[in-house]
């Protein structure tokens, strides 16, 4: 087992921003000084108690942390095997885990004297979280969003506008999340002096993957303590969904050195992980490459051209994955599986029926895998799954997929 080769899995990245061969700083020269500057400021903030005091205050009073760890009793009964706990990050302000990270980056931006915040967004959750925190601090906010996503996520576009953000529909490339990230990087290259790029996931050039992980790790830290309180021990399995992988990295990180804890990441299998490539499962269906500042597993063709992902969930619709996940995959510390759109839709309904929780489509993927493995596990096996977002934003997509017509009449 690869586990025996490492004293600790929590020391990465190295000084070059690498997790094994993954990560790094693959950016143009214009951005390089900005990234070094950010790294230096983050290193300072990380050990500054006043930074964490401000974070903790806002996590408590603005976001509503800690999020509960909830024993899903009826779900457990229904599946008839392992005992299932849900980490309720969907109860955060703005409805997902995204705000944990945004808060950290915006506080950092303020310390750096930046006045203009840019962000990319897919489903709109990171965009809404960024617009929210910018409104709270009176900062200018510009959100890049694929034109295709602007169309399919109208409620979130309206939310961002209400919060005072400017939403820029991205038509370059094919108008999806990766193109939104390209355009955000183009903006940053152009507006280097006053602008802070608030990346929404554990990807991008170093220090973003480590920094976003550190901000999201509050999820795992809380879950660990709460599990001790509830069960007097650690869970046997932790599970989370993965697009870029920030909620998963946040849950997994504090458990990495607890080698008895099994770690499972669930990628979006779309219409199935096969030669048609209609999925977003970078680890199970891609190979290593370099995009958006880091080396990681990517969906790409034989020529190294990036392929568009496909998933019912706009939040998982990204052809890459955070470099730390690529590393955990390669050394075997975490296991990565794929769940199809159809399986995720079934799990979405299962959560609604058994627990009265309308989950986002992203954690529905994680839940679908829980539903697959729980029945075959003993009743004293404890699973902790991150319920990383609520499903209000997805009801139109789900209604359409289930053949319901819920478009409002005048």
């Amino acid at each position: 087992m690869a586990n025996d080769l490492f004293n600790s899995f929590m020391t990465g990245p190295d000084e070059k921003g690498r997790f094994g061969q993954f990560g790094g700083r693959f950016v143009s020269e214009t951005l390089m000084p900005l990234i070094l500057d950010l790294e230096a400021e983050y290193e300072k903030a990380k050990t500054d108690q006043s930074f964490w005091d401000e974070m903790n205050y806002l996590w408590t009073h603005y976001v509503g942390r800690p999020s509960p760890l909830y024993f899903a009793e009826r779900l457990t009964e229904r599946l008839g095997g392992a005992k299932i706990y849900l980490k309720r990050d969907e109860l955060n302000h703005t409805g997902a885990h995204k705000i944990n990270n945004v808060l950290g980056q915006i506080i950092l931006a303020r310390r750096m004297g930046k006045t203009r915040i840019i962000a990319e967004t897919g489903a709109g959750q990171h965009g809404v979280a960024t617009a929210t925190v910018c409104a709270k601090f009176g900062l200018k906010c510009i959100v890049y969003m694929g034109a295709h996503d602007v169309e399919r996520q109208k409620p979130n576009v309206f939310r961002m506008k209400l919060l005072g953000a400017e939403v820029v529909p991205v038509t370059s490339g094919r108008g999806t999340l990766k193109d939104a990230m390209n355009d955000a990087l183009r903006d940053w290259v152009t507006n280097v002096r006053d602008t802070f790029y608030c990346i929404g996931t554990v990807a991008g050039p170093h220090p973003y993957p480590a920094m976003v992980r550190d901000f999201q790790a509050i999820i795992g830290k809380e879950a660990k303590a709460q599990m001790q309180e509830a069960e007097g021990r650690l869970p046997d399995t932790v599970i989370a969904a993965i697009g870029g992988g920030s909620n998963a990295m946040g849950l997994f990180f504090p458990f990495l050195d607890d080698k008895e804890v099994q770690i499972i990441g669930v990628e979006a299998g779309g219409k199935g992980v096969n030669a048609n490539m209609e999925h977003c499962a970078s680890l199970t269906g891609g190979r290593p490459g370099v995009l958006h500042g880091n080396r990681t597993y990517l969906l790409q063709d034989d020529d190294g051209q990036i392929l568009e992902g496909f998933s019912i969930s706009a939040g998982l619709d990204y052809p890459g994955i955070g470099p730390e996940h690529s590393w955990l995959h390669e050394i075997g510390r975490a296991e990565y599986v794929a769940i199809t759109d159809i399986e995720a839709l079934e799990a979405f309904q299962l959560s609604c029926e058994t627990e009265g929780i309308i989950p986002a489509l992203e954690p529905s993927h994680a839940l679908a895998h829980v539903a697959k493995i729980a029945p075959g596990l003993p009743m004293d096996h404890i699973i902790c799954m991150n319920m990383c977002g609520r499903g209000d934003k997805d009801i139109f997509t789900v209604a359409k997929a289930l053949g319901w017509d819920i478009v409002e009449a005048d």
């Binding site: 143009s28 214009t30 390089m32 000084p33 990087l185 183009r186 370099v290 020529d303």
Partner: protein
């Protein structure tokens, strides 16, 4: 000595500024693109930058993005781009070719295999936008060992403290990016660029060529007058995108080259 070194030495001996042009390989298709590239030396181009198409050109504006999409749609790949260089080489042994693009297609091809194939195709240098000095071990150092120049971008954000690091493993020439921004956006201003070029030249003996934001023969002349040469890309690629004939494209290039050479 690569063809790049030889060419710049010759220009220096003649007291001439360099004119460098950029076109995307395979834009709008392989045959037309080859015809344009073959016509560049006669139009006055001293160094050819050949774009390697990529789906996600993060440092480029809409003009180059669209050129890449046209090239990819017409079936252009890294292998076909090297083929195009080889076809050009059959008729021109002296004009240097710099392959310019992003790392992933090269990474996907495999660095070692790529360097062999590029060398065999008659490529003389590389500009890989997303490989800063911090990632020199990836491609820069192996490329130099294989006898290819690795040309680095210096930008307005590259301060004096960082400049030596950027120059350290650079060869052939230095490409100074005149603006903070993407290709084809703002206009370069000779008055701003002059002092910056002087700053770079204080840190290197290599020729300093300026690109980004040069669109007319006049700007080409103005910029060349404060540097060792000028690069034009988007303005040429724009004409290709508009479906102009090869003759029209090359006529435009001739005007730009004349501008730079009139200094």
């Amino acid at each position: 000595m690569t063809r790049i070194d030889t060419r710049f030495a010759a220009l220096k001996a003649e007291g001439k500024k360099a004119f460098v042009s950029y076109v995307m390989a395979g834009d709008p298709d392989y045959a037309t693109s080859l015809e344009i590239v073959q016509g560049l030396p006669d139009a006055g181009v001293d160094v050819i930058e050949l774009g390697l198409p990529f789906t996600d050109p993060m440092a480029d504006g809409p003009t180059i993005q669209l050129a890449g999409q046209r090239a990819l749609a017409s079936g252009q790949t890294l292998v076909k781009t090297l083929e195009l260089a080889r076809a050009f080489r059959e008729g021109d042994e002296t004009t240097p070719i710099v392959l310019m693009g992003y790392y992933n297609p090269i990474h996907s091809h495999g660095v070692e295999r790529f360097l062999e194939d590029a060398k065999a195709a008659g490529i003389d240098g590389l500009i890989v936008v997303d490989l800063p000095p911090e990632e020199d071990e990836e491609l820069c150092i192996p490329a130099q060992a294989a006898g290819l120049n690795f040309i680095r971008l210096a930008t307005p954000t590259t301060d004096d403290q960082r400049l030596p690091k950027v120059m350290q493993n650079t060869s052939g020439f230095v490409y100074y990016v005149s603006i903070t921004g993407i290709t084809g956006a703002a206009n370069a201003v000779a008055g701003d660029v002059g002092p910056e070029v002087a700053r770079i030249k204080a840190a290197t003996d290599l020729p300093v060529i300026v690109g980004f934001g040069i669109k007319t023969p006049e700007t080409s002349r103005e910029i060349a007058s404060v540097a060792d040469g000028a690069v034009v890309g988007s303005a040429i690629v724009d004409l290709i995108g508009q479906g102009k004939s090869v003759t029209e494209v090359l006529e435009f290039v001739r005007g730009l080259a004349k501008g730079a050479h009139s200094v």
